[in-house]
Amino acid sequence: MANLLYRQNVISVSDLTTEQLELLLDTALKLKASPRDDLLAGKLIGSCFFEPSTRTRLSFETAVQRLGGKVIGFSDGANTSAKKGETLADTARIISSYTDAIIQRHPKDGAARITAEFSSVPVINAGDGTNQHPSQTLLDLVTIYETQGRLNQLKIAMCGDLKYGRTVHSLCQALKRWGCEFAFVSPPSLAMPEYITEELDEAGCRHQVFSSLEEAAQWADILYMTRVQRERFDEQEFAKIQGKFNLNAAMLAGAKPNLRVLHPLPRVDEIHPDVDATPYAYYFEQATNGVYARMAMLSLVLNEEV
């Protein structure tokens, strides 16, 4: 029987059924436990980065090559025909005639869905504007599952810039399917948007706001840190909040033993290096899981059976 993702696009976490997400997760962990270098043998993948994102691109391209596939593409839209005014629709028609799948990063919201409409091969979204970045969400899910042994009814605390942080939005949208409970810690001006909390309400997921990071660290199974960017504040405002959303090892004193701290990386000072040596730190493994999450996407989309 063909798998639920065979010849499908991976555009948005909200398109994926829970079964598809679970299949992706299982496959990622399976590939981590026993690597395969044949799943993309003979396949050519288009890696189309209309804006630079070195980390994401290298992670995807590593996934392709580790699975035995080959990559063509570009790492910056500046020198492509898009710059001369070619539509994405036309680019998609052409690149899909060369390749077996397209990985696309694009500065515009919704770009991946448009490419998918005109492409004859599956499209994997590697980030479209401020919209979606499903491989990031998948690697977060893989990591949470790996550290907790389950996804259902976990206590998830999120800290930092919850307003603009695309990763935390998508993660909420994914985890609400498993009845998780949420706690948010952020400067008031960077609180979780209402449309996300409404979605959590609709799904019956409880959520609350904590005023301190210590409180969140004691409550949570997962503490998901993101960066509060200085540029979003004037100097005076920033002085008021500075350090309040930065985690150090002392703050983890009362944490549950199963607590794991995650961060989409790169970090600046929101996680003090003294956290690295604690048993709670898991952000580097999380980044490693990115390759397995992307291997799972690619191999399921291109193989009837994995």
Partner: protein, 152 residues
Amino acid sequence: MEKKQYSVEAIENGTVIDHIPAGKGLAILRQFKLLHYGSAVTVGFNLPSKTQGSKDIIKISGVTLDDAAANRLALFAPEAVVNTIDRFQVVDKRHLTMPDEIRAVFRCPNSNCASLSEPVQSRFYVKKQHGQTRLKCHYCEKTFSRDSVTEA
């Protein structure tokens, strides 16, 4: 015999959009480009209405609205009634239902939405949230209030 006085001219053939909430007639005229048909359009604003107090009404000669067009109207004026007129008689009376999806009518208000610069039709999903009509763009997945979409 007493001659009945109409405040808006009767039409022989075409469409009468009746029971538009007072004040929304002009927006509907504009949003649905009803003047672009090139047909005679007569309008009445703030007419007395038994059920609504006052209402707007739009009559378009020689044009019939299909179901999709009628349903798009529901977004603005779910109370409106679309009458098809043939030889001065109402031959079809449609009460409106809110569509699940609206295509090719509005531009996405998100200036970074890829749909704005590509050869695709705009596409929104209609959702009711806290009694408000919201539209979610199929492409950029952003959700907007009805008014911010129609003004874009």
